[in-house]
Symmetry: C2
Subunit: 380 residues, 2 copies
């Protein structure tokens, strides 16, 4: 399989915000386009909870990326002009050091011995990549969903490192509804007997490092499936599904035989999403990144005030985008970011869309997001 | 323990809409107030998925009911004037025949041998109670949440049996978002190994009637807990929780010791709800009633059109209430009911509230619901 990933070694030890440190850690990233001689055309993309660094196809890895329609030559994030970097979050299992990685101290996967992860750690690790590429200041930092929170941390903790910012479907802090959803996703995984306190099979290697070693083949499919389905429910919107699925039923031969099995199209849609996800994302990584999202709160840097926290971010320009149908990161939270960055002195565009797709609109409503993002970047 | 329940025997056999029949079945109900000599002051309340028939305290059972603030002497549903009946839904384990009941054919609990349940069956069973009380026509039929859907079925299937109707936080059909939520709740129960195909301990009696008998003590606590928490998340609203919980954390000594354990107040709130529910509602009953809610669709009676279905309901007056913060039964669905009943010739009041409590507002925002319901009933 082709692979376009490069790796940046993090300083060792790499201290973590909430205590503990990593040794010999790294983060995976990919790049597109060419860094200008003045090193002033770099655009960094920070991702949501589950995507890899593969935001778009490249000669080294021609498979479509997770934002393929947005990033490429002549596209909204135009790789003919910009040197685009996408970093796999620290703590994610798509190439970066994470709970599924080998702990050099033991030669075994970290599992729950991985130190507590915060989005500030994710931001610091991304900054290391940029620094190692010799880029003192990003032309633009783009953060989507969880990556939007990491981006706020990045700008606040690395003053002067960012000229412009695009904030996509995100929030300045986790609100209780989002915490409740994520907490329940984690609980579904934690209560799965096959999660086994984090000691399940990793990449086919049976757990053998805990007091309760996992049996071969042990993996929390059930918990991951429930977590993913709940995720998809909150990433989309009721409005979209009314139009898309209504009350359409599967053909009788497509239905599940068991009692209370899948009968409606919407159930089958969720099932498909879960099946594609369950074995492709490490459950412990999911737990760590999910909790990091709950913990994030820009108000920590503003004596308890979101706007005071945002006021410590100094950039020239920003665009903040959100959709009215997002139940996980409601539009009011994007407006808070826009207001806060404006008060901090940035020239801010706030783009409120009515896309029916909910939180995931940035991945689906390419027309509107392209127009906004392309327009903003084009004017830089 | 005091008990105010009475029981109405259903005709035997009692045929079910989707096939099969019950033998020797009954439904539990309670009453308050006095039936007038003209038998023209009866108000029937149909409940949501989990409540019992105990809507309010009475001399026989002085414990507070689930709508205590709304039903009683001088209250909005004034038992000095009205003879109030509340029926425990067929299929619920609060006294009515349900999957946890003994199947007379086997002497063992039905479990999954209970026939498929629809809200039309729930409506028919409630109508038997009213009929046996000698009431030809209800002064008012009130349905809350799932009970609102049962009420639509009641009025459509028993023409002339209802004079006025109050529809509370409900829908004329299940939409895909609600189906997705309920499907996931059912999946959490079904995937719990202790659910065991429905063969868990019922009331301390080990499962012994299936091909895979349950071990003593076997009960799907995990699945029920996840299902209930997801329920509570969708019964309330993000707006309410922002004000109520914000990002307040538990005191360190209240937090759970285990990794990723409860840390925020909102998580503890959900935990409390789950603990109170898990062992007080039979899991198979939950599955049956949940699926019945998905299946309900008034459009079945209108050649695929909701408004044509509603047009077949002939009553004199109706009040339809909903809240803008309800994500499970969105306000547009109450408006659909109001419009449909109006087109059918009823005089209809549509009350759209901005209560922050979401779907559960009818249980919490007593001021606004009292004013609306009391005003409507007072003018009858």
């Amino acid at each position: 399989m082709s692979d376009a990933r490069r790796y940046a070694a993090l300083p060792s030890p790499f201290p973590m915000k909430r205590g503990g440190e990593l040794h010999g850690a790294r983060v995976a990233y990919e790049t597109w386009g060419t860094l200008a001689p003045g090193r002033d055309n770099a655009v960094l993309i920070l991702t949501g909870l589950s995507p890899s660094a593969h935001v778009a196809a490249s000669p080294e890895d021609p498979s479509p990326g997770w934002w393929e329609a947005m990033v490429g030559p002549g596209k909204a994030i135009d790789t003919d002009r910009w040197f685009v970097i996408c970093v796999n979050s620290l703590g994610s299992d798509k190439g970066s050091t994470c709970p599924a990685s080998i702990d050099p101290a033991t030669g075994m996967p970290y599992r729950l011995r991985f130190p507590e992860l915060s989005l500030e750690d994710v931001a610091h690790a991304a900054h290391v990549v940029v620094d190692q590429l010799g880029i003192a200041r990003l032309a633009c930092l783009i953060g989507c969903s969880m990556g939007g929170m990491s981006a706020l941390a990045y700008m606040l903790l690395h003053p002067g490192s960012v000229r412009a910012h695009i904030s996509v479907d995100t929030a300045p802090q986790a609100q209780p509804f989002a915490i409740a959803i994520r907490s329940l996703q984690r609980e579904a995984i934690r209560l799965d007997p096959n999660w086994n306190g984090g000691n399940y099979d990793i990449h086919g290697v049976p757990a053998a490092d805990g007091s309760a070693p996992g049996a071969p083949g042990r993996y929390p499919d059930m918990g991951m499936s429930i977590a993913r389905k709940l995720g998809v429910i909150t990433y989309r919107s009721a409005m979209e599904w009314n139009g898309r699925f209504a009350r359409i039923r599967l053909d009788p031969e497509q239905r599940e035989e068991q009692p209370f099995g899948v009968e409606f199209q919407v159930e089958s849609y969720l099932q498909g999403h879960a099946e594609r996800f369950v074995r492709t994302f490490d459950p412990n990584c999911y737990l760590y990144l999910s909790r990091a999202s709950d913990w994030f709160d820009i108000a920590e840097y503003g004596a308890g005030s979101v706007s005071a926290g945002l006021k410590r971010i100094h950039i020239e320009r920003a665009m903040v985008i959100g959709v009215s149908t997002d139940i996980l990161f409601p539009l009011e939270q994007q407006e808070q970011i826009a207001d806060g960055l404006r008060q901090a002195g940035a020239e801010v565009q706030f783009v409120a869309l009515d896309s029916p797709q909910g939180h995931d609109a940035f991945l689906v409503d390419i027309d509107n997001y392209s127009r906004a993002i392309g327009g903003f970047l084009g004017a830089l």
